[in-house]
Structure formats: C-alpha cells, structure tokens
Symmetry: C2
Subunit: 353 residues, 2 copies
C-alpha cells in the first residue's frame, strides 16, 4: 500500500507542479508561496482516498486525478491559514508559510514587527489564492470527461464542505479560550468531524461519485465510502489525543506533553477531568499548562489518566469508530482498491500508542 | 438609474439574506460575521453590472441574479481580508470585520493583544467562508436553468479572476513598501486593473455570457461589455487618485490628503515626482508622509501637482479610458439596459473633482 501511495503522491505532485493556475499570482514571492505547501509533498492521504474510492466503486483512476489534486490543494490552503492562526513556526520540517514570507521581508531589510505583519498578510493572500486554485483544479474534471452536471454538484459540495471545515477550525480556536470544565467530549469529537472529517468524507465520496456519475451523492457506495472516511478521520484524531500523552516522542513527531502545555481540550484530558473525584480535579488542572514536563511528571499524569479509565474510554471509542469504518468498506465488492483502502485504514488507525 | 440600482440592491440583499449557506458557519459569532459585510448594503455596483449586462445582451435578468449575488459576496470577502491587511477600523461607517470580532472578544473578557489576534483570526476565517459562499451562490446558476457547461466555465473563470484580484492586492501591499521613485505609473495602473478591474470585467462579461450561453466568453458582446467594465474600473481609480487630493472632503468620504499621509503611490503623485525638476523632487518627497495637512499646505501641494501637468495627465488618461468604455458599450444594440449601463458609467466617472 505504501508503495502505491508513493506513486500516487508523485503523480499529484507532477500534476500540481505543471498546473498553470499559480502563474496568475503576483508578485513572484506570492506565486512561490502559492506553490510551496502543495508541492512540499506530505503523504497525500486525501488524494489516495479520492482515487482509491473511485477505483473501489468501479471507476477509472485517471478520471479522479483532478479531484484528488484539488482536495490536496484545498487541504493545503487550510494549513496556511491555520498556521497563521496557531502562530506555528514549522510545517513538514520547514518554516511555515507566514514565517518564510517574514524571512524574505527581513532579507529585504524590513524590520521586526513589520516583517511579521508582512509575512502574515501575504500568507493570508497565499491561502486565498490556493482556495481559488483548489476550485479551479476540481472544475477541470469537466475537461477529463466528467459530465458537467456532476462537476457542478461536486464543486457546490466542496464549498459546503469548506464551510464545515472552517467551522471546525473556528470551534477549535474558540474552545481553546474556554474553561476546560465547560467543554464536553462530544463537542470535541464534533469539532474533529468538522475540521478533519469533512474533507476526508468529501474525498472518498467524490471518488465514488466520479466512478458512478452520482451527482446527488446518494448511491450506497458513495454513502458508505464517505461515512468510512469520516469515521476514520475522527478515530485518527482520537488516537492522536492518546499519542499526545502516551506516544513515542521519536516516532510521533510533535513533543509528547505539548497538549498538556497548551491546556488543549483533548478528549483524553476532558474524560480524565470528568472522571476524577471533585477533590482531585483542581490538583490535576494545576498540572496543565506548564511549559515543560519531566519524564516523572509525565508518568504521574499518565498514571492518573489510566487510573480514571480515560485512556481506555478514548481508545475504545477510537476502535469503535475504526470498526464502523471497516464495516462500511466491506459493503463494497471485493477488489484490489478496496484492499488498499483497508490497508490505508490500518495504517492510519493502528499507529503505536 | 439610481432608482433601478436601489431596487436591484434590495433584491440582492433579499437573496443573500435568505441563502442557507452561512448557516454552515459555526460558532454563532463566525456565522454573524460571514453574513455581516454582504448584508451591510453598499451600492451593489457589481450586481448591477452583471444583471444590466445580461439584459443589454438580450438576456433575462432573473437568470443573472445568482451570478450578481455571487459577485457581491466575492467582493465582500476580499474587503474582509483587505481590511485586516490595511488594519482599517471602519467600513461603510461601521467597525471593520476584524474590529467587530475584536470587540466581541473584549466584551467576553479577553485582554488587549489577545482580543486583537482573535479578531484577526476569526476575520481570516470569515473571509475564507465567504469565498466559499460566493462560489456556492454562483454554482446555483445551474438550478435556475443555466446549462451546466456554462456554469462550470463561469466558475472556473471566477477562480482565475480571483487570482488576479488577489495579485492586485498583493502588488498594492508590496508597492507600499517600495521607494516611490522605483514605481512606475504603468505598474500602478496595472495594479488597479487587477485589484478592481478584474472583478468588474468578470461581472459584465458574466452577465453577457449568461444571456448568450457563451461558455467560451468569446461573443463580441461579452468581450465589449467585459472591456467596458475593466476600462471603467481603471478610470474610476484614476479619478479616485485625483479626488484624493482635489476632492471635496464632505462628498468624497475619506479625508483629503490621506493618500499624501500614507505616501501612497497614486498615479497623481508619481506623475508629479517624475515631472518635477530634479532639484525640487526631494523637497516634494519631504512633504509626503505627514500625519496631517493644513489647508494652506494642501493648496501648496495642489499647486505643484497642477503646475507639473500631473493633474491634467491623470484626468486625460481617465477621460480616455472612460471614452473607450463608452465606445465598447455602443457596439451593443440600443436598449433600456444599455442606457442604464451608460448612466452607471456616468455616475462612476463624472464624480466632481
């Protein structure tokens, strides 16, 4: 599966690298920024969902390629704007878009705060332009033989999906400002479904709709594949909550404990708070928000999270969703691409805790 | 004409006010922000271009209404992001989107800098969501009887136009950081053509394309109306450059002299610098960038701008473009809506200097 994923990633990179759209962006620094994230690589999970769902529903992978590339560009514009909002410095081991633009301004002699503002301003415009690019690439489907009625419907649904994704990001920002005691696990799960799930769902459903010429998105295969991807996305985020505290720092990517430092409302932390005896709750809350955690402090927190049953709860919920996703998948006829999708689910959801 | 413009504005407001798209935005504060600018009113010049161009090309105004509303929403998302970039406080006499969101955060007890950041972050997401909304409304054309091939092509061209408009904004930001001596009048005019002209052109051409089912945008009426709107937009901006120094403060809206305070690279100032004897240039540049100007200081600057012939040059260029726009218009058959468009040009381009 990983080999096929790599091949698909290369095709998407080639397609986006030769697309004429970014040439419309000016000046040069904006054009380069528009191309940057989409061509940085990444796993290309979303394109794989589109193309493999298309094949699993009996379609021709070539006909899904534009939609696959469009979903990848769409994902990337949201990253550019999220990185501004989260004031993040790194993305895939390189400076984030706004930092890179800030650095160019600094090299051109712009001083501190003004360079930061320039970086953010141009990163806003970069994401804006990429959003248009994503739509443009999707609409190209019409040139590759897709019926225009289908293309119009897919494009309209991409917009609705976008609104959900943006709502997910907004809820994430808004929750980060709320008292943890006032956030429910259900709200967080719903935020995951919007922020990550909506695009996953769109990808898999779009692949099926292209295969089946299903403008309404009502075919059972479309529904099953969309539901599968949505459930997998939420399960992935729940796993991520667990890995944020119990993961292996070396393989997980981000520092273990950073969720604690940020007082992030993960399902793991909310379940723990909810299940702690009232007397212990304030003490646990005090442990949150430290800039760093020693290994023994982390162990102590892990012990509490385990003892309350929060870890088990979140793991069980993730497994439940993963199982539901797999059940959707097997409603499709057996095929090589159904197997690839099953392997993709395993890859996403069986990460080591 | 103004009465017809008012009636059209009301229809656009009704259409946007009842559109279900913003309901996808969450939380409430984001949903309200998404609706805010598009429902604040404004002249609705862009919808008028769409609908009247459609009629002038022989089409049914009802069939252009979605496209008209889409162009208005498109315009508004760019305003939301521009207002963040320009750090503006007011838009149509109310706080700008990011300021309004900042104020909500303050009311909820968020402190200074954090409230400002929240306002900007949510305003980024507001514009993002409005961009999707604009596309969604345009794609609804397919529900009102437009052939899907045409809708796909219009939607694809809206994306290209968006990239140009964004490039215009980026060039504007970038120019504001450059030495005035290194900016040419041609560059500024081109920036106007991108930032304001591209959407004007799209609006008028879209109306004609809907009337004529002209997916390729190649019909002579489509080209003439698009060119007319592009030329009118640039002429409008050149007039604006003149009004920025010679306008009547009471009727012009923004403070006369604010272009000088911002050291803005207007065509008027660039022409003046170019035509001043080298010995006087430095002295004139020193007059720029003051926080305020007394009436006598303004008179002195006006005298220099007149004496160099810069005012005449810019006025002549604006008149030339206005005349070119009118020549395009009369290639269409005489009709009530052709007259309305001619009156709209007069309204835009005969503002008092």
């Amino acid at each position: 599966m990983l080999e096929e994923l790599k091949q698909l990633a290369a095709r998407v990179t080639t397609l986006l690298g030769s697309d004429p759209f970014p040439a419309l962006a000016e000046p040069d620094i904006l054009r380069a920024a528009v191309r940057d994230y989409p061509l940085r690589g990444g796993k290309r999970l979303r394109p794989a969902l589109v193309v493999w769902a298309c094949c699993a529903a009996g379609g021709d992978p070539e006909k899904a390629l534009c939609a696959a590339a469009a979903c990848e560009v769409f994902h990337n514009w949201t990253l550019v704007h999220d990185d501004i909002i989260d004031a993040d410095d790194l993305r895939r081991n390189f400076p984030t878009c706004h930092r890179q633009l800030e650095q160019s301004a600094q090299r051109a002699g712009v001083a501190g705060a003004a360079a930061g503002k320039f970086g953010r301003d141009f990163a806003i415009l970069t994401g804006d332009c990429q959003q248009a690019w994503a739509n443009f690439v999707l609409l190209k489907l019409a040139d590759t033989g897709a019926p225009p009625e289908l293309v119009v419907q897919l494009a309209a649904d991409l917009q609705k999906m976008g609104a959900k994704l943006i709502a997910g990001e907004a809820l994430d920002v808004e929750m980060s400002r709320r008292d943890l005691a006032k956030i429910s696990v259900e709200e967080v799960e719903r935020m995951y479904a919007l922020k990550t799930g909506a695009l996953f769902e769109f990808c898999a459903a779009a692949g099926a709709r292209i295969a089946l010429n299903d403008a309404a998105g009502a075919h059972p295969f479309t529904r099953a594949l969309g539901k599968m991807a949505l459930e997998a996305a939420v399960a992935f985020q729940l796993k991520d909550d667990c890995l944020g505290l119990f993961g292996n720092q070396a393989t997980f990517g981000k520092p273990v404990g950073s969720d604690l430092s940020e007082r992030k409302a993960t399902t793991l932390i909310l379940h723990t708070l909810e299940r702690l005896p009232a007397a212990e709750r304030a003490g646990f809350e005090l442990k949150l928000g430290q800039p760093e955690y020693s290994p023994s402090e982390l162990d102590e927190i892990r012990e509490i999270v385990r003892r309350t049953g929060a870890l088990e709860l979140v793991r069980n919920r993730a497994s439940e969703l993963a199982a539901a996703a797999r059940r959707e998948l097997v409603t499709l006829p057996e095929s090589r691409h159904r197997t690839l999708l099953a392997e993709l689910l395993d890859y996403l959801l069986n990460r080591e805790v």
